[in-house]
Amino acid sequence: MITLKKSPVRIGEVSVRNHLILAAGVLGTCASSLLRMLQSGAGAVVTKSIGPEPRPGHAGPCLVVLEDGILNAMGLPNPSARFSDELEKLSNEPVIVSIFGGNPDQFAEVAGWFANQAQAYELNVSCPHASGYGAQIGTNPDIVKACTEAVKSQGKPVWVKLTPNVTDITAIGQAAEDGGADALVAINTVKAMRISTPLKRPVLGNKFGGLSGKAIFPVAVRCVYELYDACSIPIVGCGGVSSAEDVIEMMMAGAQGVEIGSALYSNPDLFQNICRDLYSEEGYHWKEIVGCAHA
């Protein structure tokens, strides 16, 4: 297997400890669980997406495990401004705060709460199941650009997380780049649904949800590959990564690092395990790998 030499990594203006980052919304609501992921080997963590108001999230079921993926519609539950209390405990850790809002002002407002705590912001313009937020904004390049600019003006690195549920993800990626984004994160979940046939109704409380996990890995690789050709800022790959091989594949598609979420279900020690497989003395320098499948 192809391995990487361990070396200091900077992705999208953020210093991370290795190429593996905890994805937004997974074990990301408490300082303690974020810290646990860092201790178990994550190179950085992205928090649960934080918005302008506290939200309890959608009625359940919020998540079902499928054979080859996870379907969820959490509904962006979040403590809003109060989250800064949690982050107090994480100063000096590589914490990227995921934020969402309904317009550029809300994005800027939310970002402002974490000015002293975030190493960077990740803009969630891609959640496929929260009306007025997420993908409802992230499918419009002009709004994506404006939200990026609004947060970027606060002087911190801004990563923009994209939805695959668009006709052309590169148009959105370019809009984020135009708005001053320091990195693109691809992808959020793929809009999906399952129905409980015995109950004759969609299985999620919100009916529609987002598919993550292994099932979407080939979609995520495709999006990263397309963005690498179309944009010139760093890309962070996300979607179905569950092994060191997957990390290498994402990097060859053009990602400088990856985010991992669903695969922690099958293996809570995944960060540690992937680190063990991914890094070796004889490994490649990451720059030799990133984007090499475009040759």
Partner: protein, 253 residues
């Protein structure tokens, strides 16, 4: 069903245990350990965590929307069940079960499935005592009520003060947060924390250790996956009885 969609069960019967608590029996037996729980989908309402009080039943206290709907369901109605989830109790030797209120639900099976169990039940009043008749057939039961309408007048932790706690190999506890905190304190005082296991309640959405809504300080354990049963020793330094997080993730004290 293929994959992990909820198993749909049909309600066989509903037994009123007390004015606010009912046991709902399904047509399906879930192979599980006492202390494991399921996510119960009340169609059109919500999905909530519930201990399996029997391998084919849950015992529900009406506290809000979903539990009230559940309690009003009739034989023939359907529910979706995900799970069983969580670790469950590890039981060996002489066992003491300490239940407060609907916390009796996961403990009932300890008495029914293990040989050498003594039981303490606490409740607000005599009417709210759960499973008393069933338990009495199986093991020695002592009772505490807040209003003194049955048994010891006071909290169940009070009962412990007069008991030879050190003779138990296993002590299992489930009840309201403050009750568990008092029991933990008392067991610590009596030097028996190392034998104790507590089944915790935290707000849960996914039940499988991903969403983070049930995470527990100081170490970020997932109550749904790493718990809901934790050792007394682990809990001594924890948030238990101090605060928890609500559906939004905001701390409530």
């Amino acid at each position: 069903m293929p994959d992990g969609l909820p198993t749909v069960v049909t309600i066989r019967c509903v037994v009123e245990e007390s004015p606010t608590v009912s046991t709902i029996f399904f047509d399906t037996v879930f192979s599980s350990k006492p202390g494991q729980f399921v996510m119960v989908w009340v169609p059109g309402i919500d999905e909530i965590p519930m201990a399996l009080s029997y391998p084919d039943a849950i015992t529900v206290q009406r506290v809000g929307d979903a539990t009230t709907h559940l309690a009003s369901m009739k034989p023939g109605d359907k529910l979706g069940i995900r799970g069983p989830f969580g670790n469950g109790f590890s039981i060996s030797g002489k066992t003491l079960a300490i239940a407060g209120g609907v916390g009796a639900a996961p403990l009932l099976r300890v008495a029914l499935e293990f040989p050498d169990v003594d039981f303490l039940i606490g409740a607000r009043n005599e009417d709210e005592l759960l499973f008393f008749r069933i338990l009495r057939e199986r093991c020695s039961v002592r009772v505490a009520t807040d209003d003194g309408s049955a048994g010891f007048h006071g909290f169940v932790a009070g009962l412990l003060k007069e008991m030879p706690v050190e003779k138990y190999d296993t002590i299992v506890v489930c009840g309201p947060e403050q009750m568990m905190r008092s029991v933990l304190k008392e067991l610590e005082f009596q030097n028996s924390v190392h034998n104790a296991q507590f089944s915790l309640h935290r707000y849960m959405k996914c039940g499988i250790g991903l969403c983070g809504s049930c995470c527990f300080d100081p170490d970020g354990a997932c109550v749904c996956r790493d718990g809901p049963v934790f050792s007394g020793e682990y809990l001594l330094q924890s948030e238990l009885g101090k605060y928890h997080r609500n559906a939004s993730g905001i701390k409530e004290f």
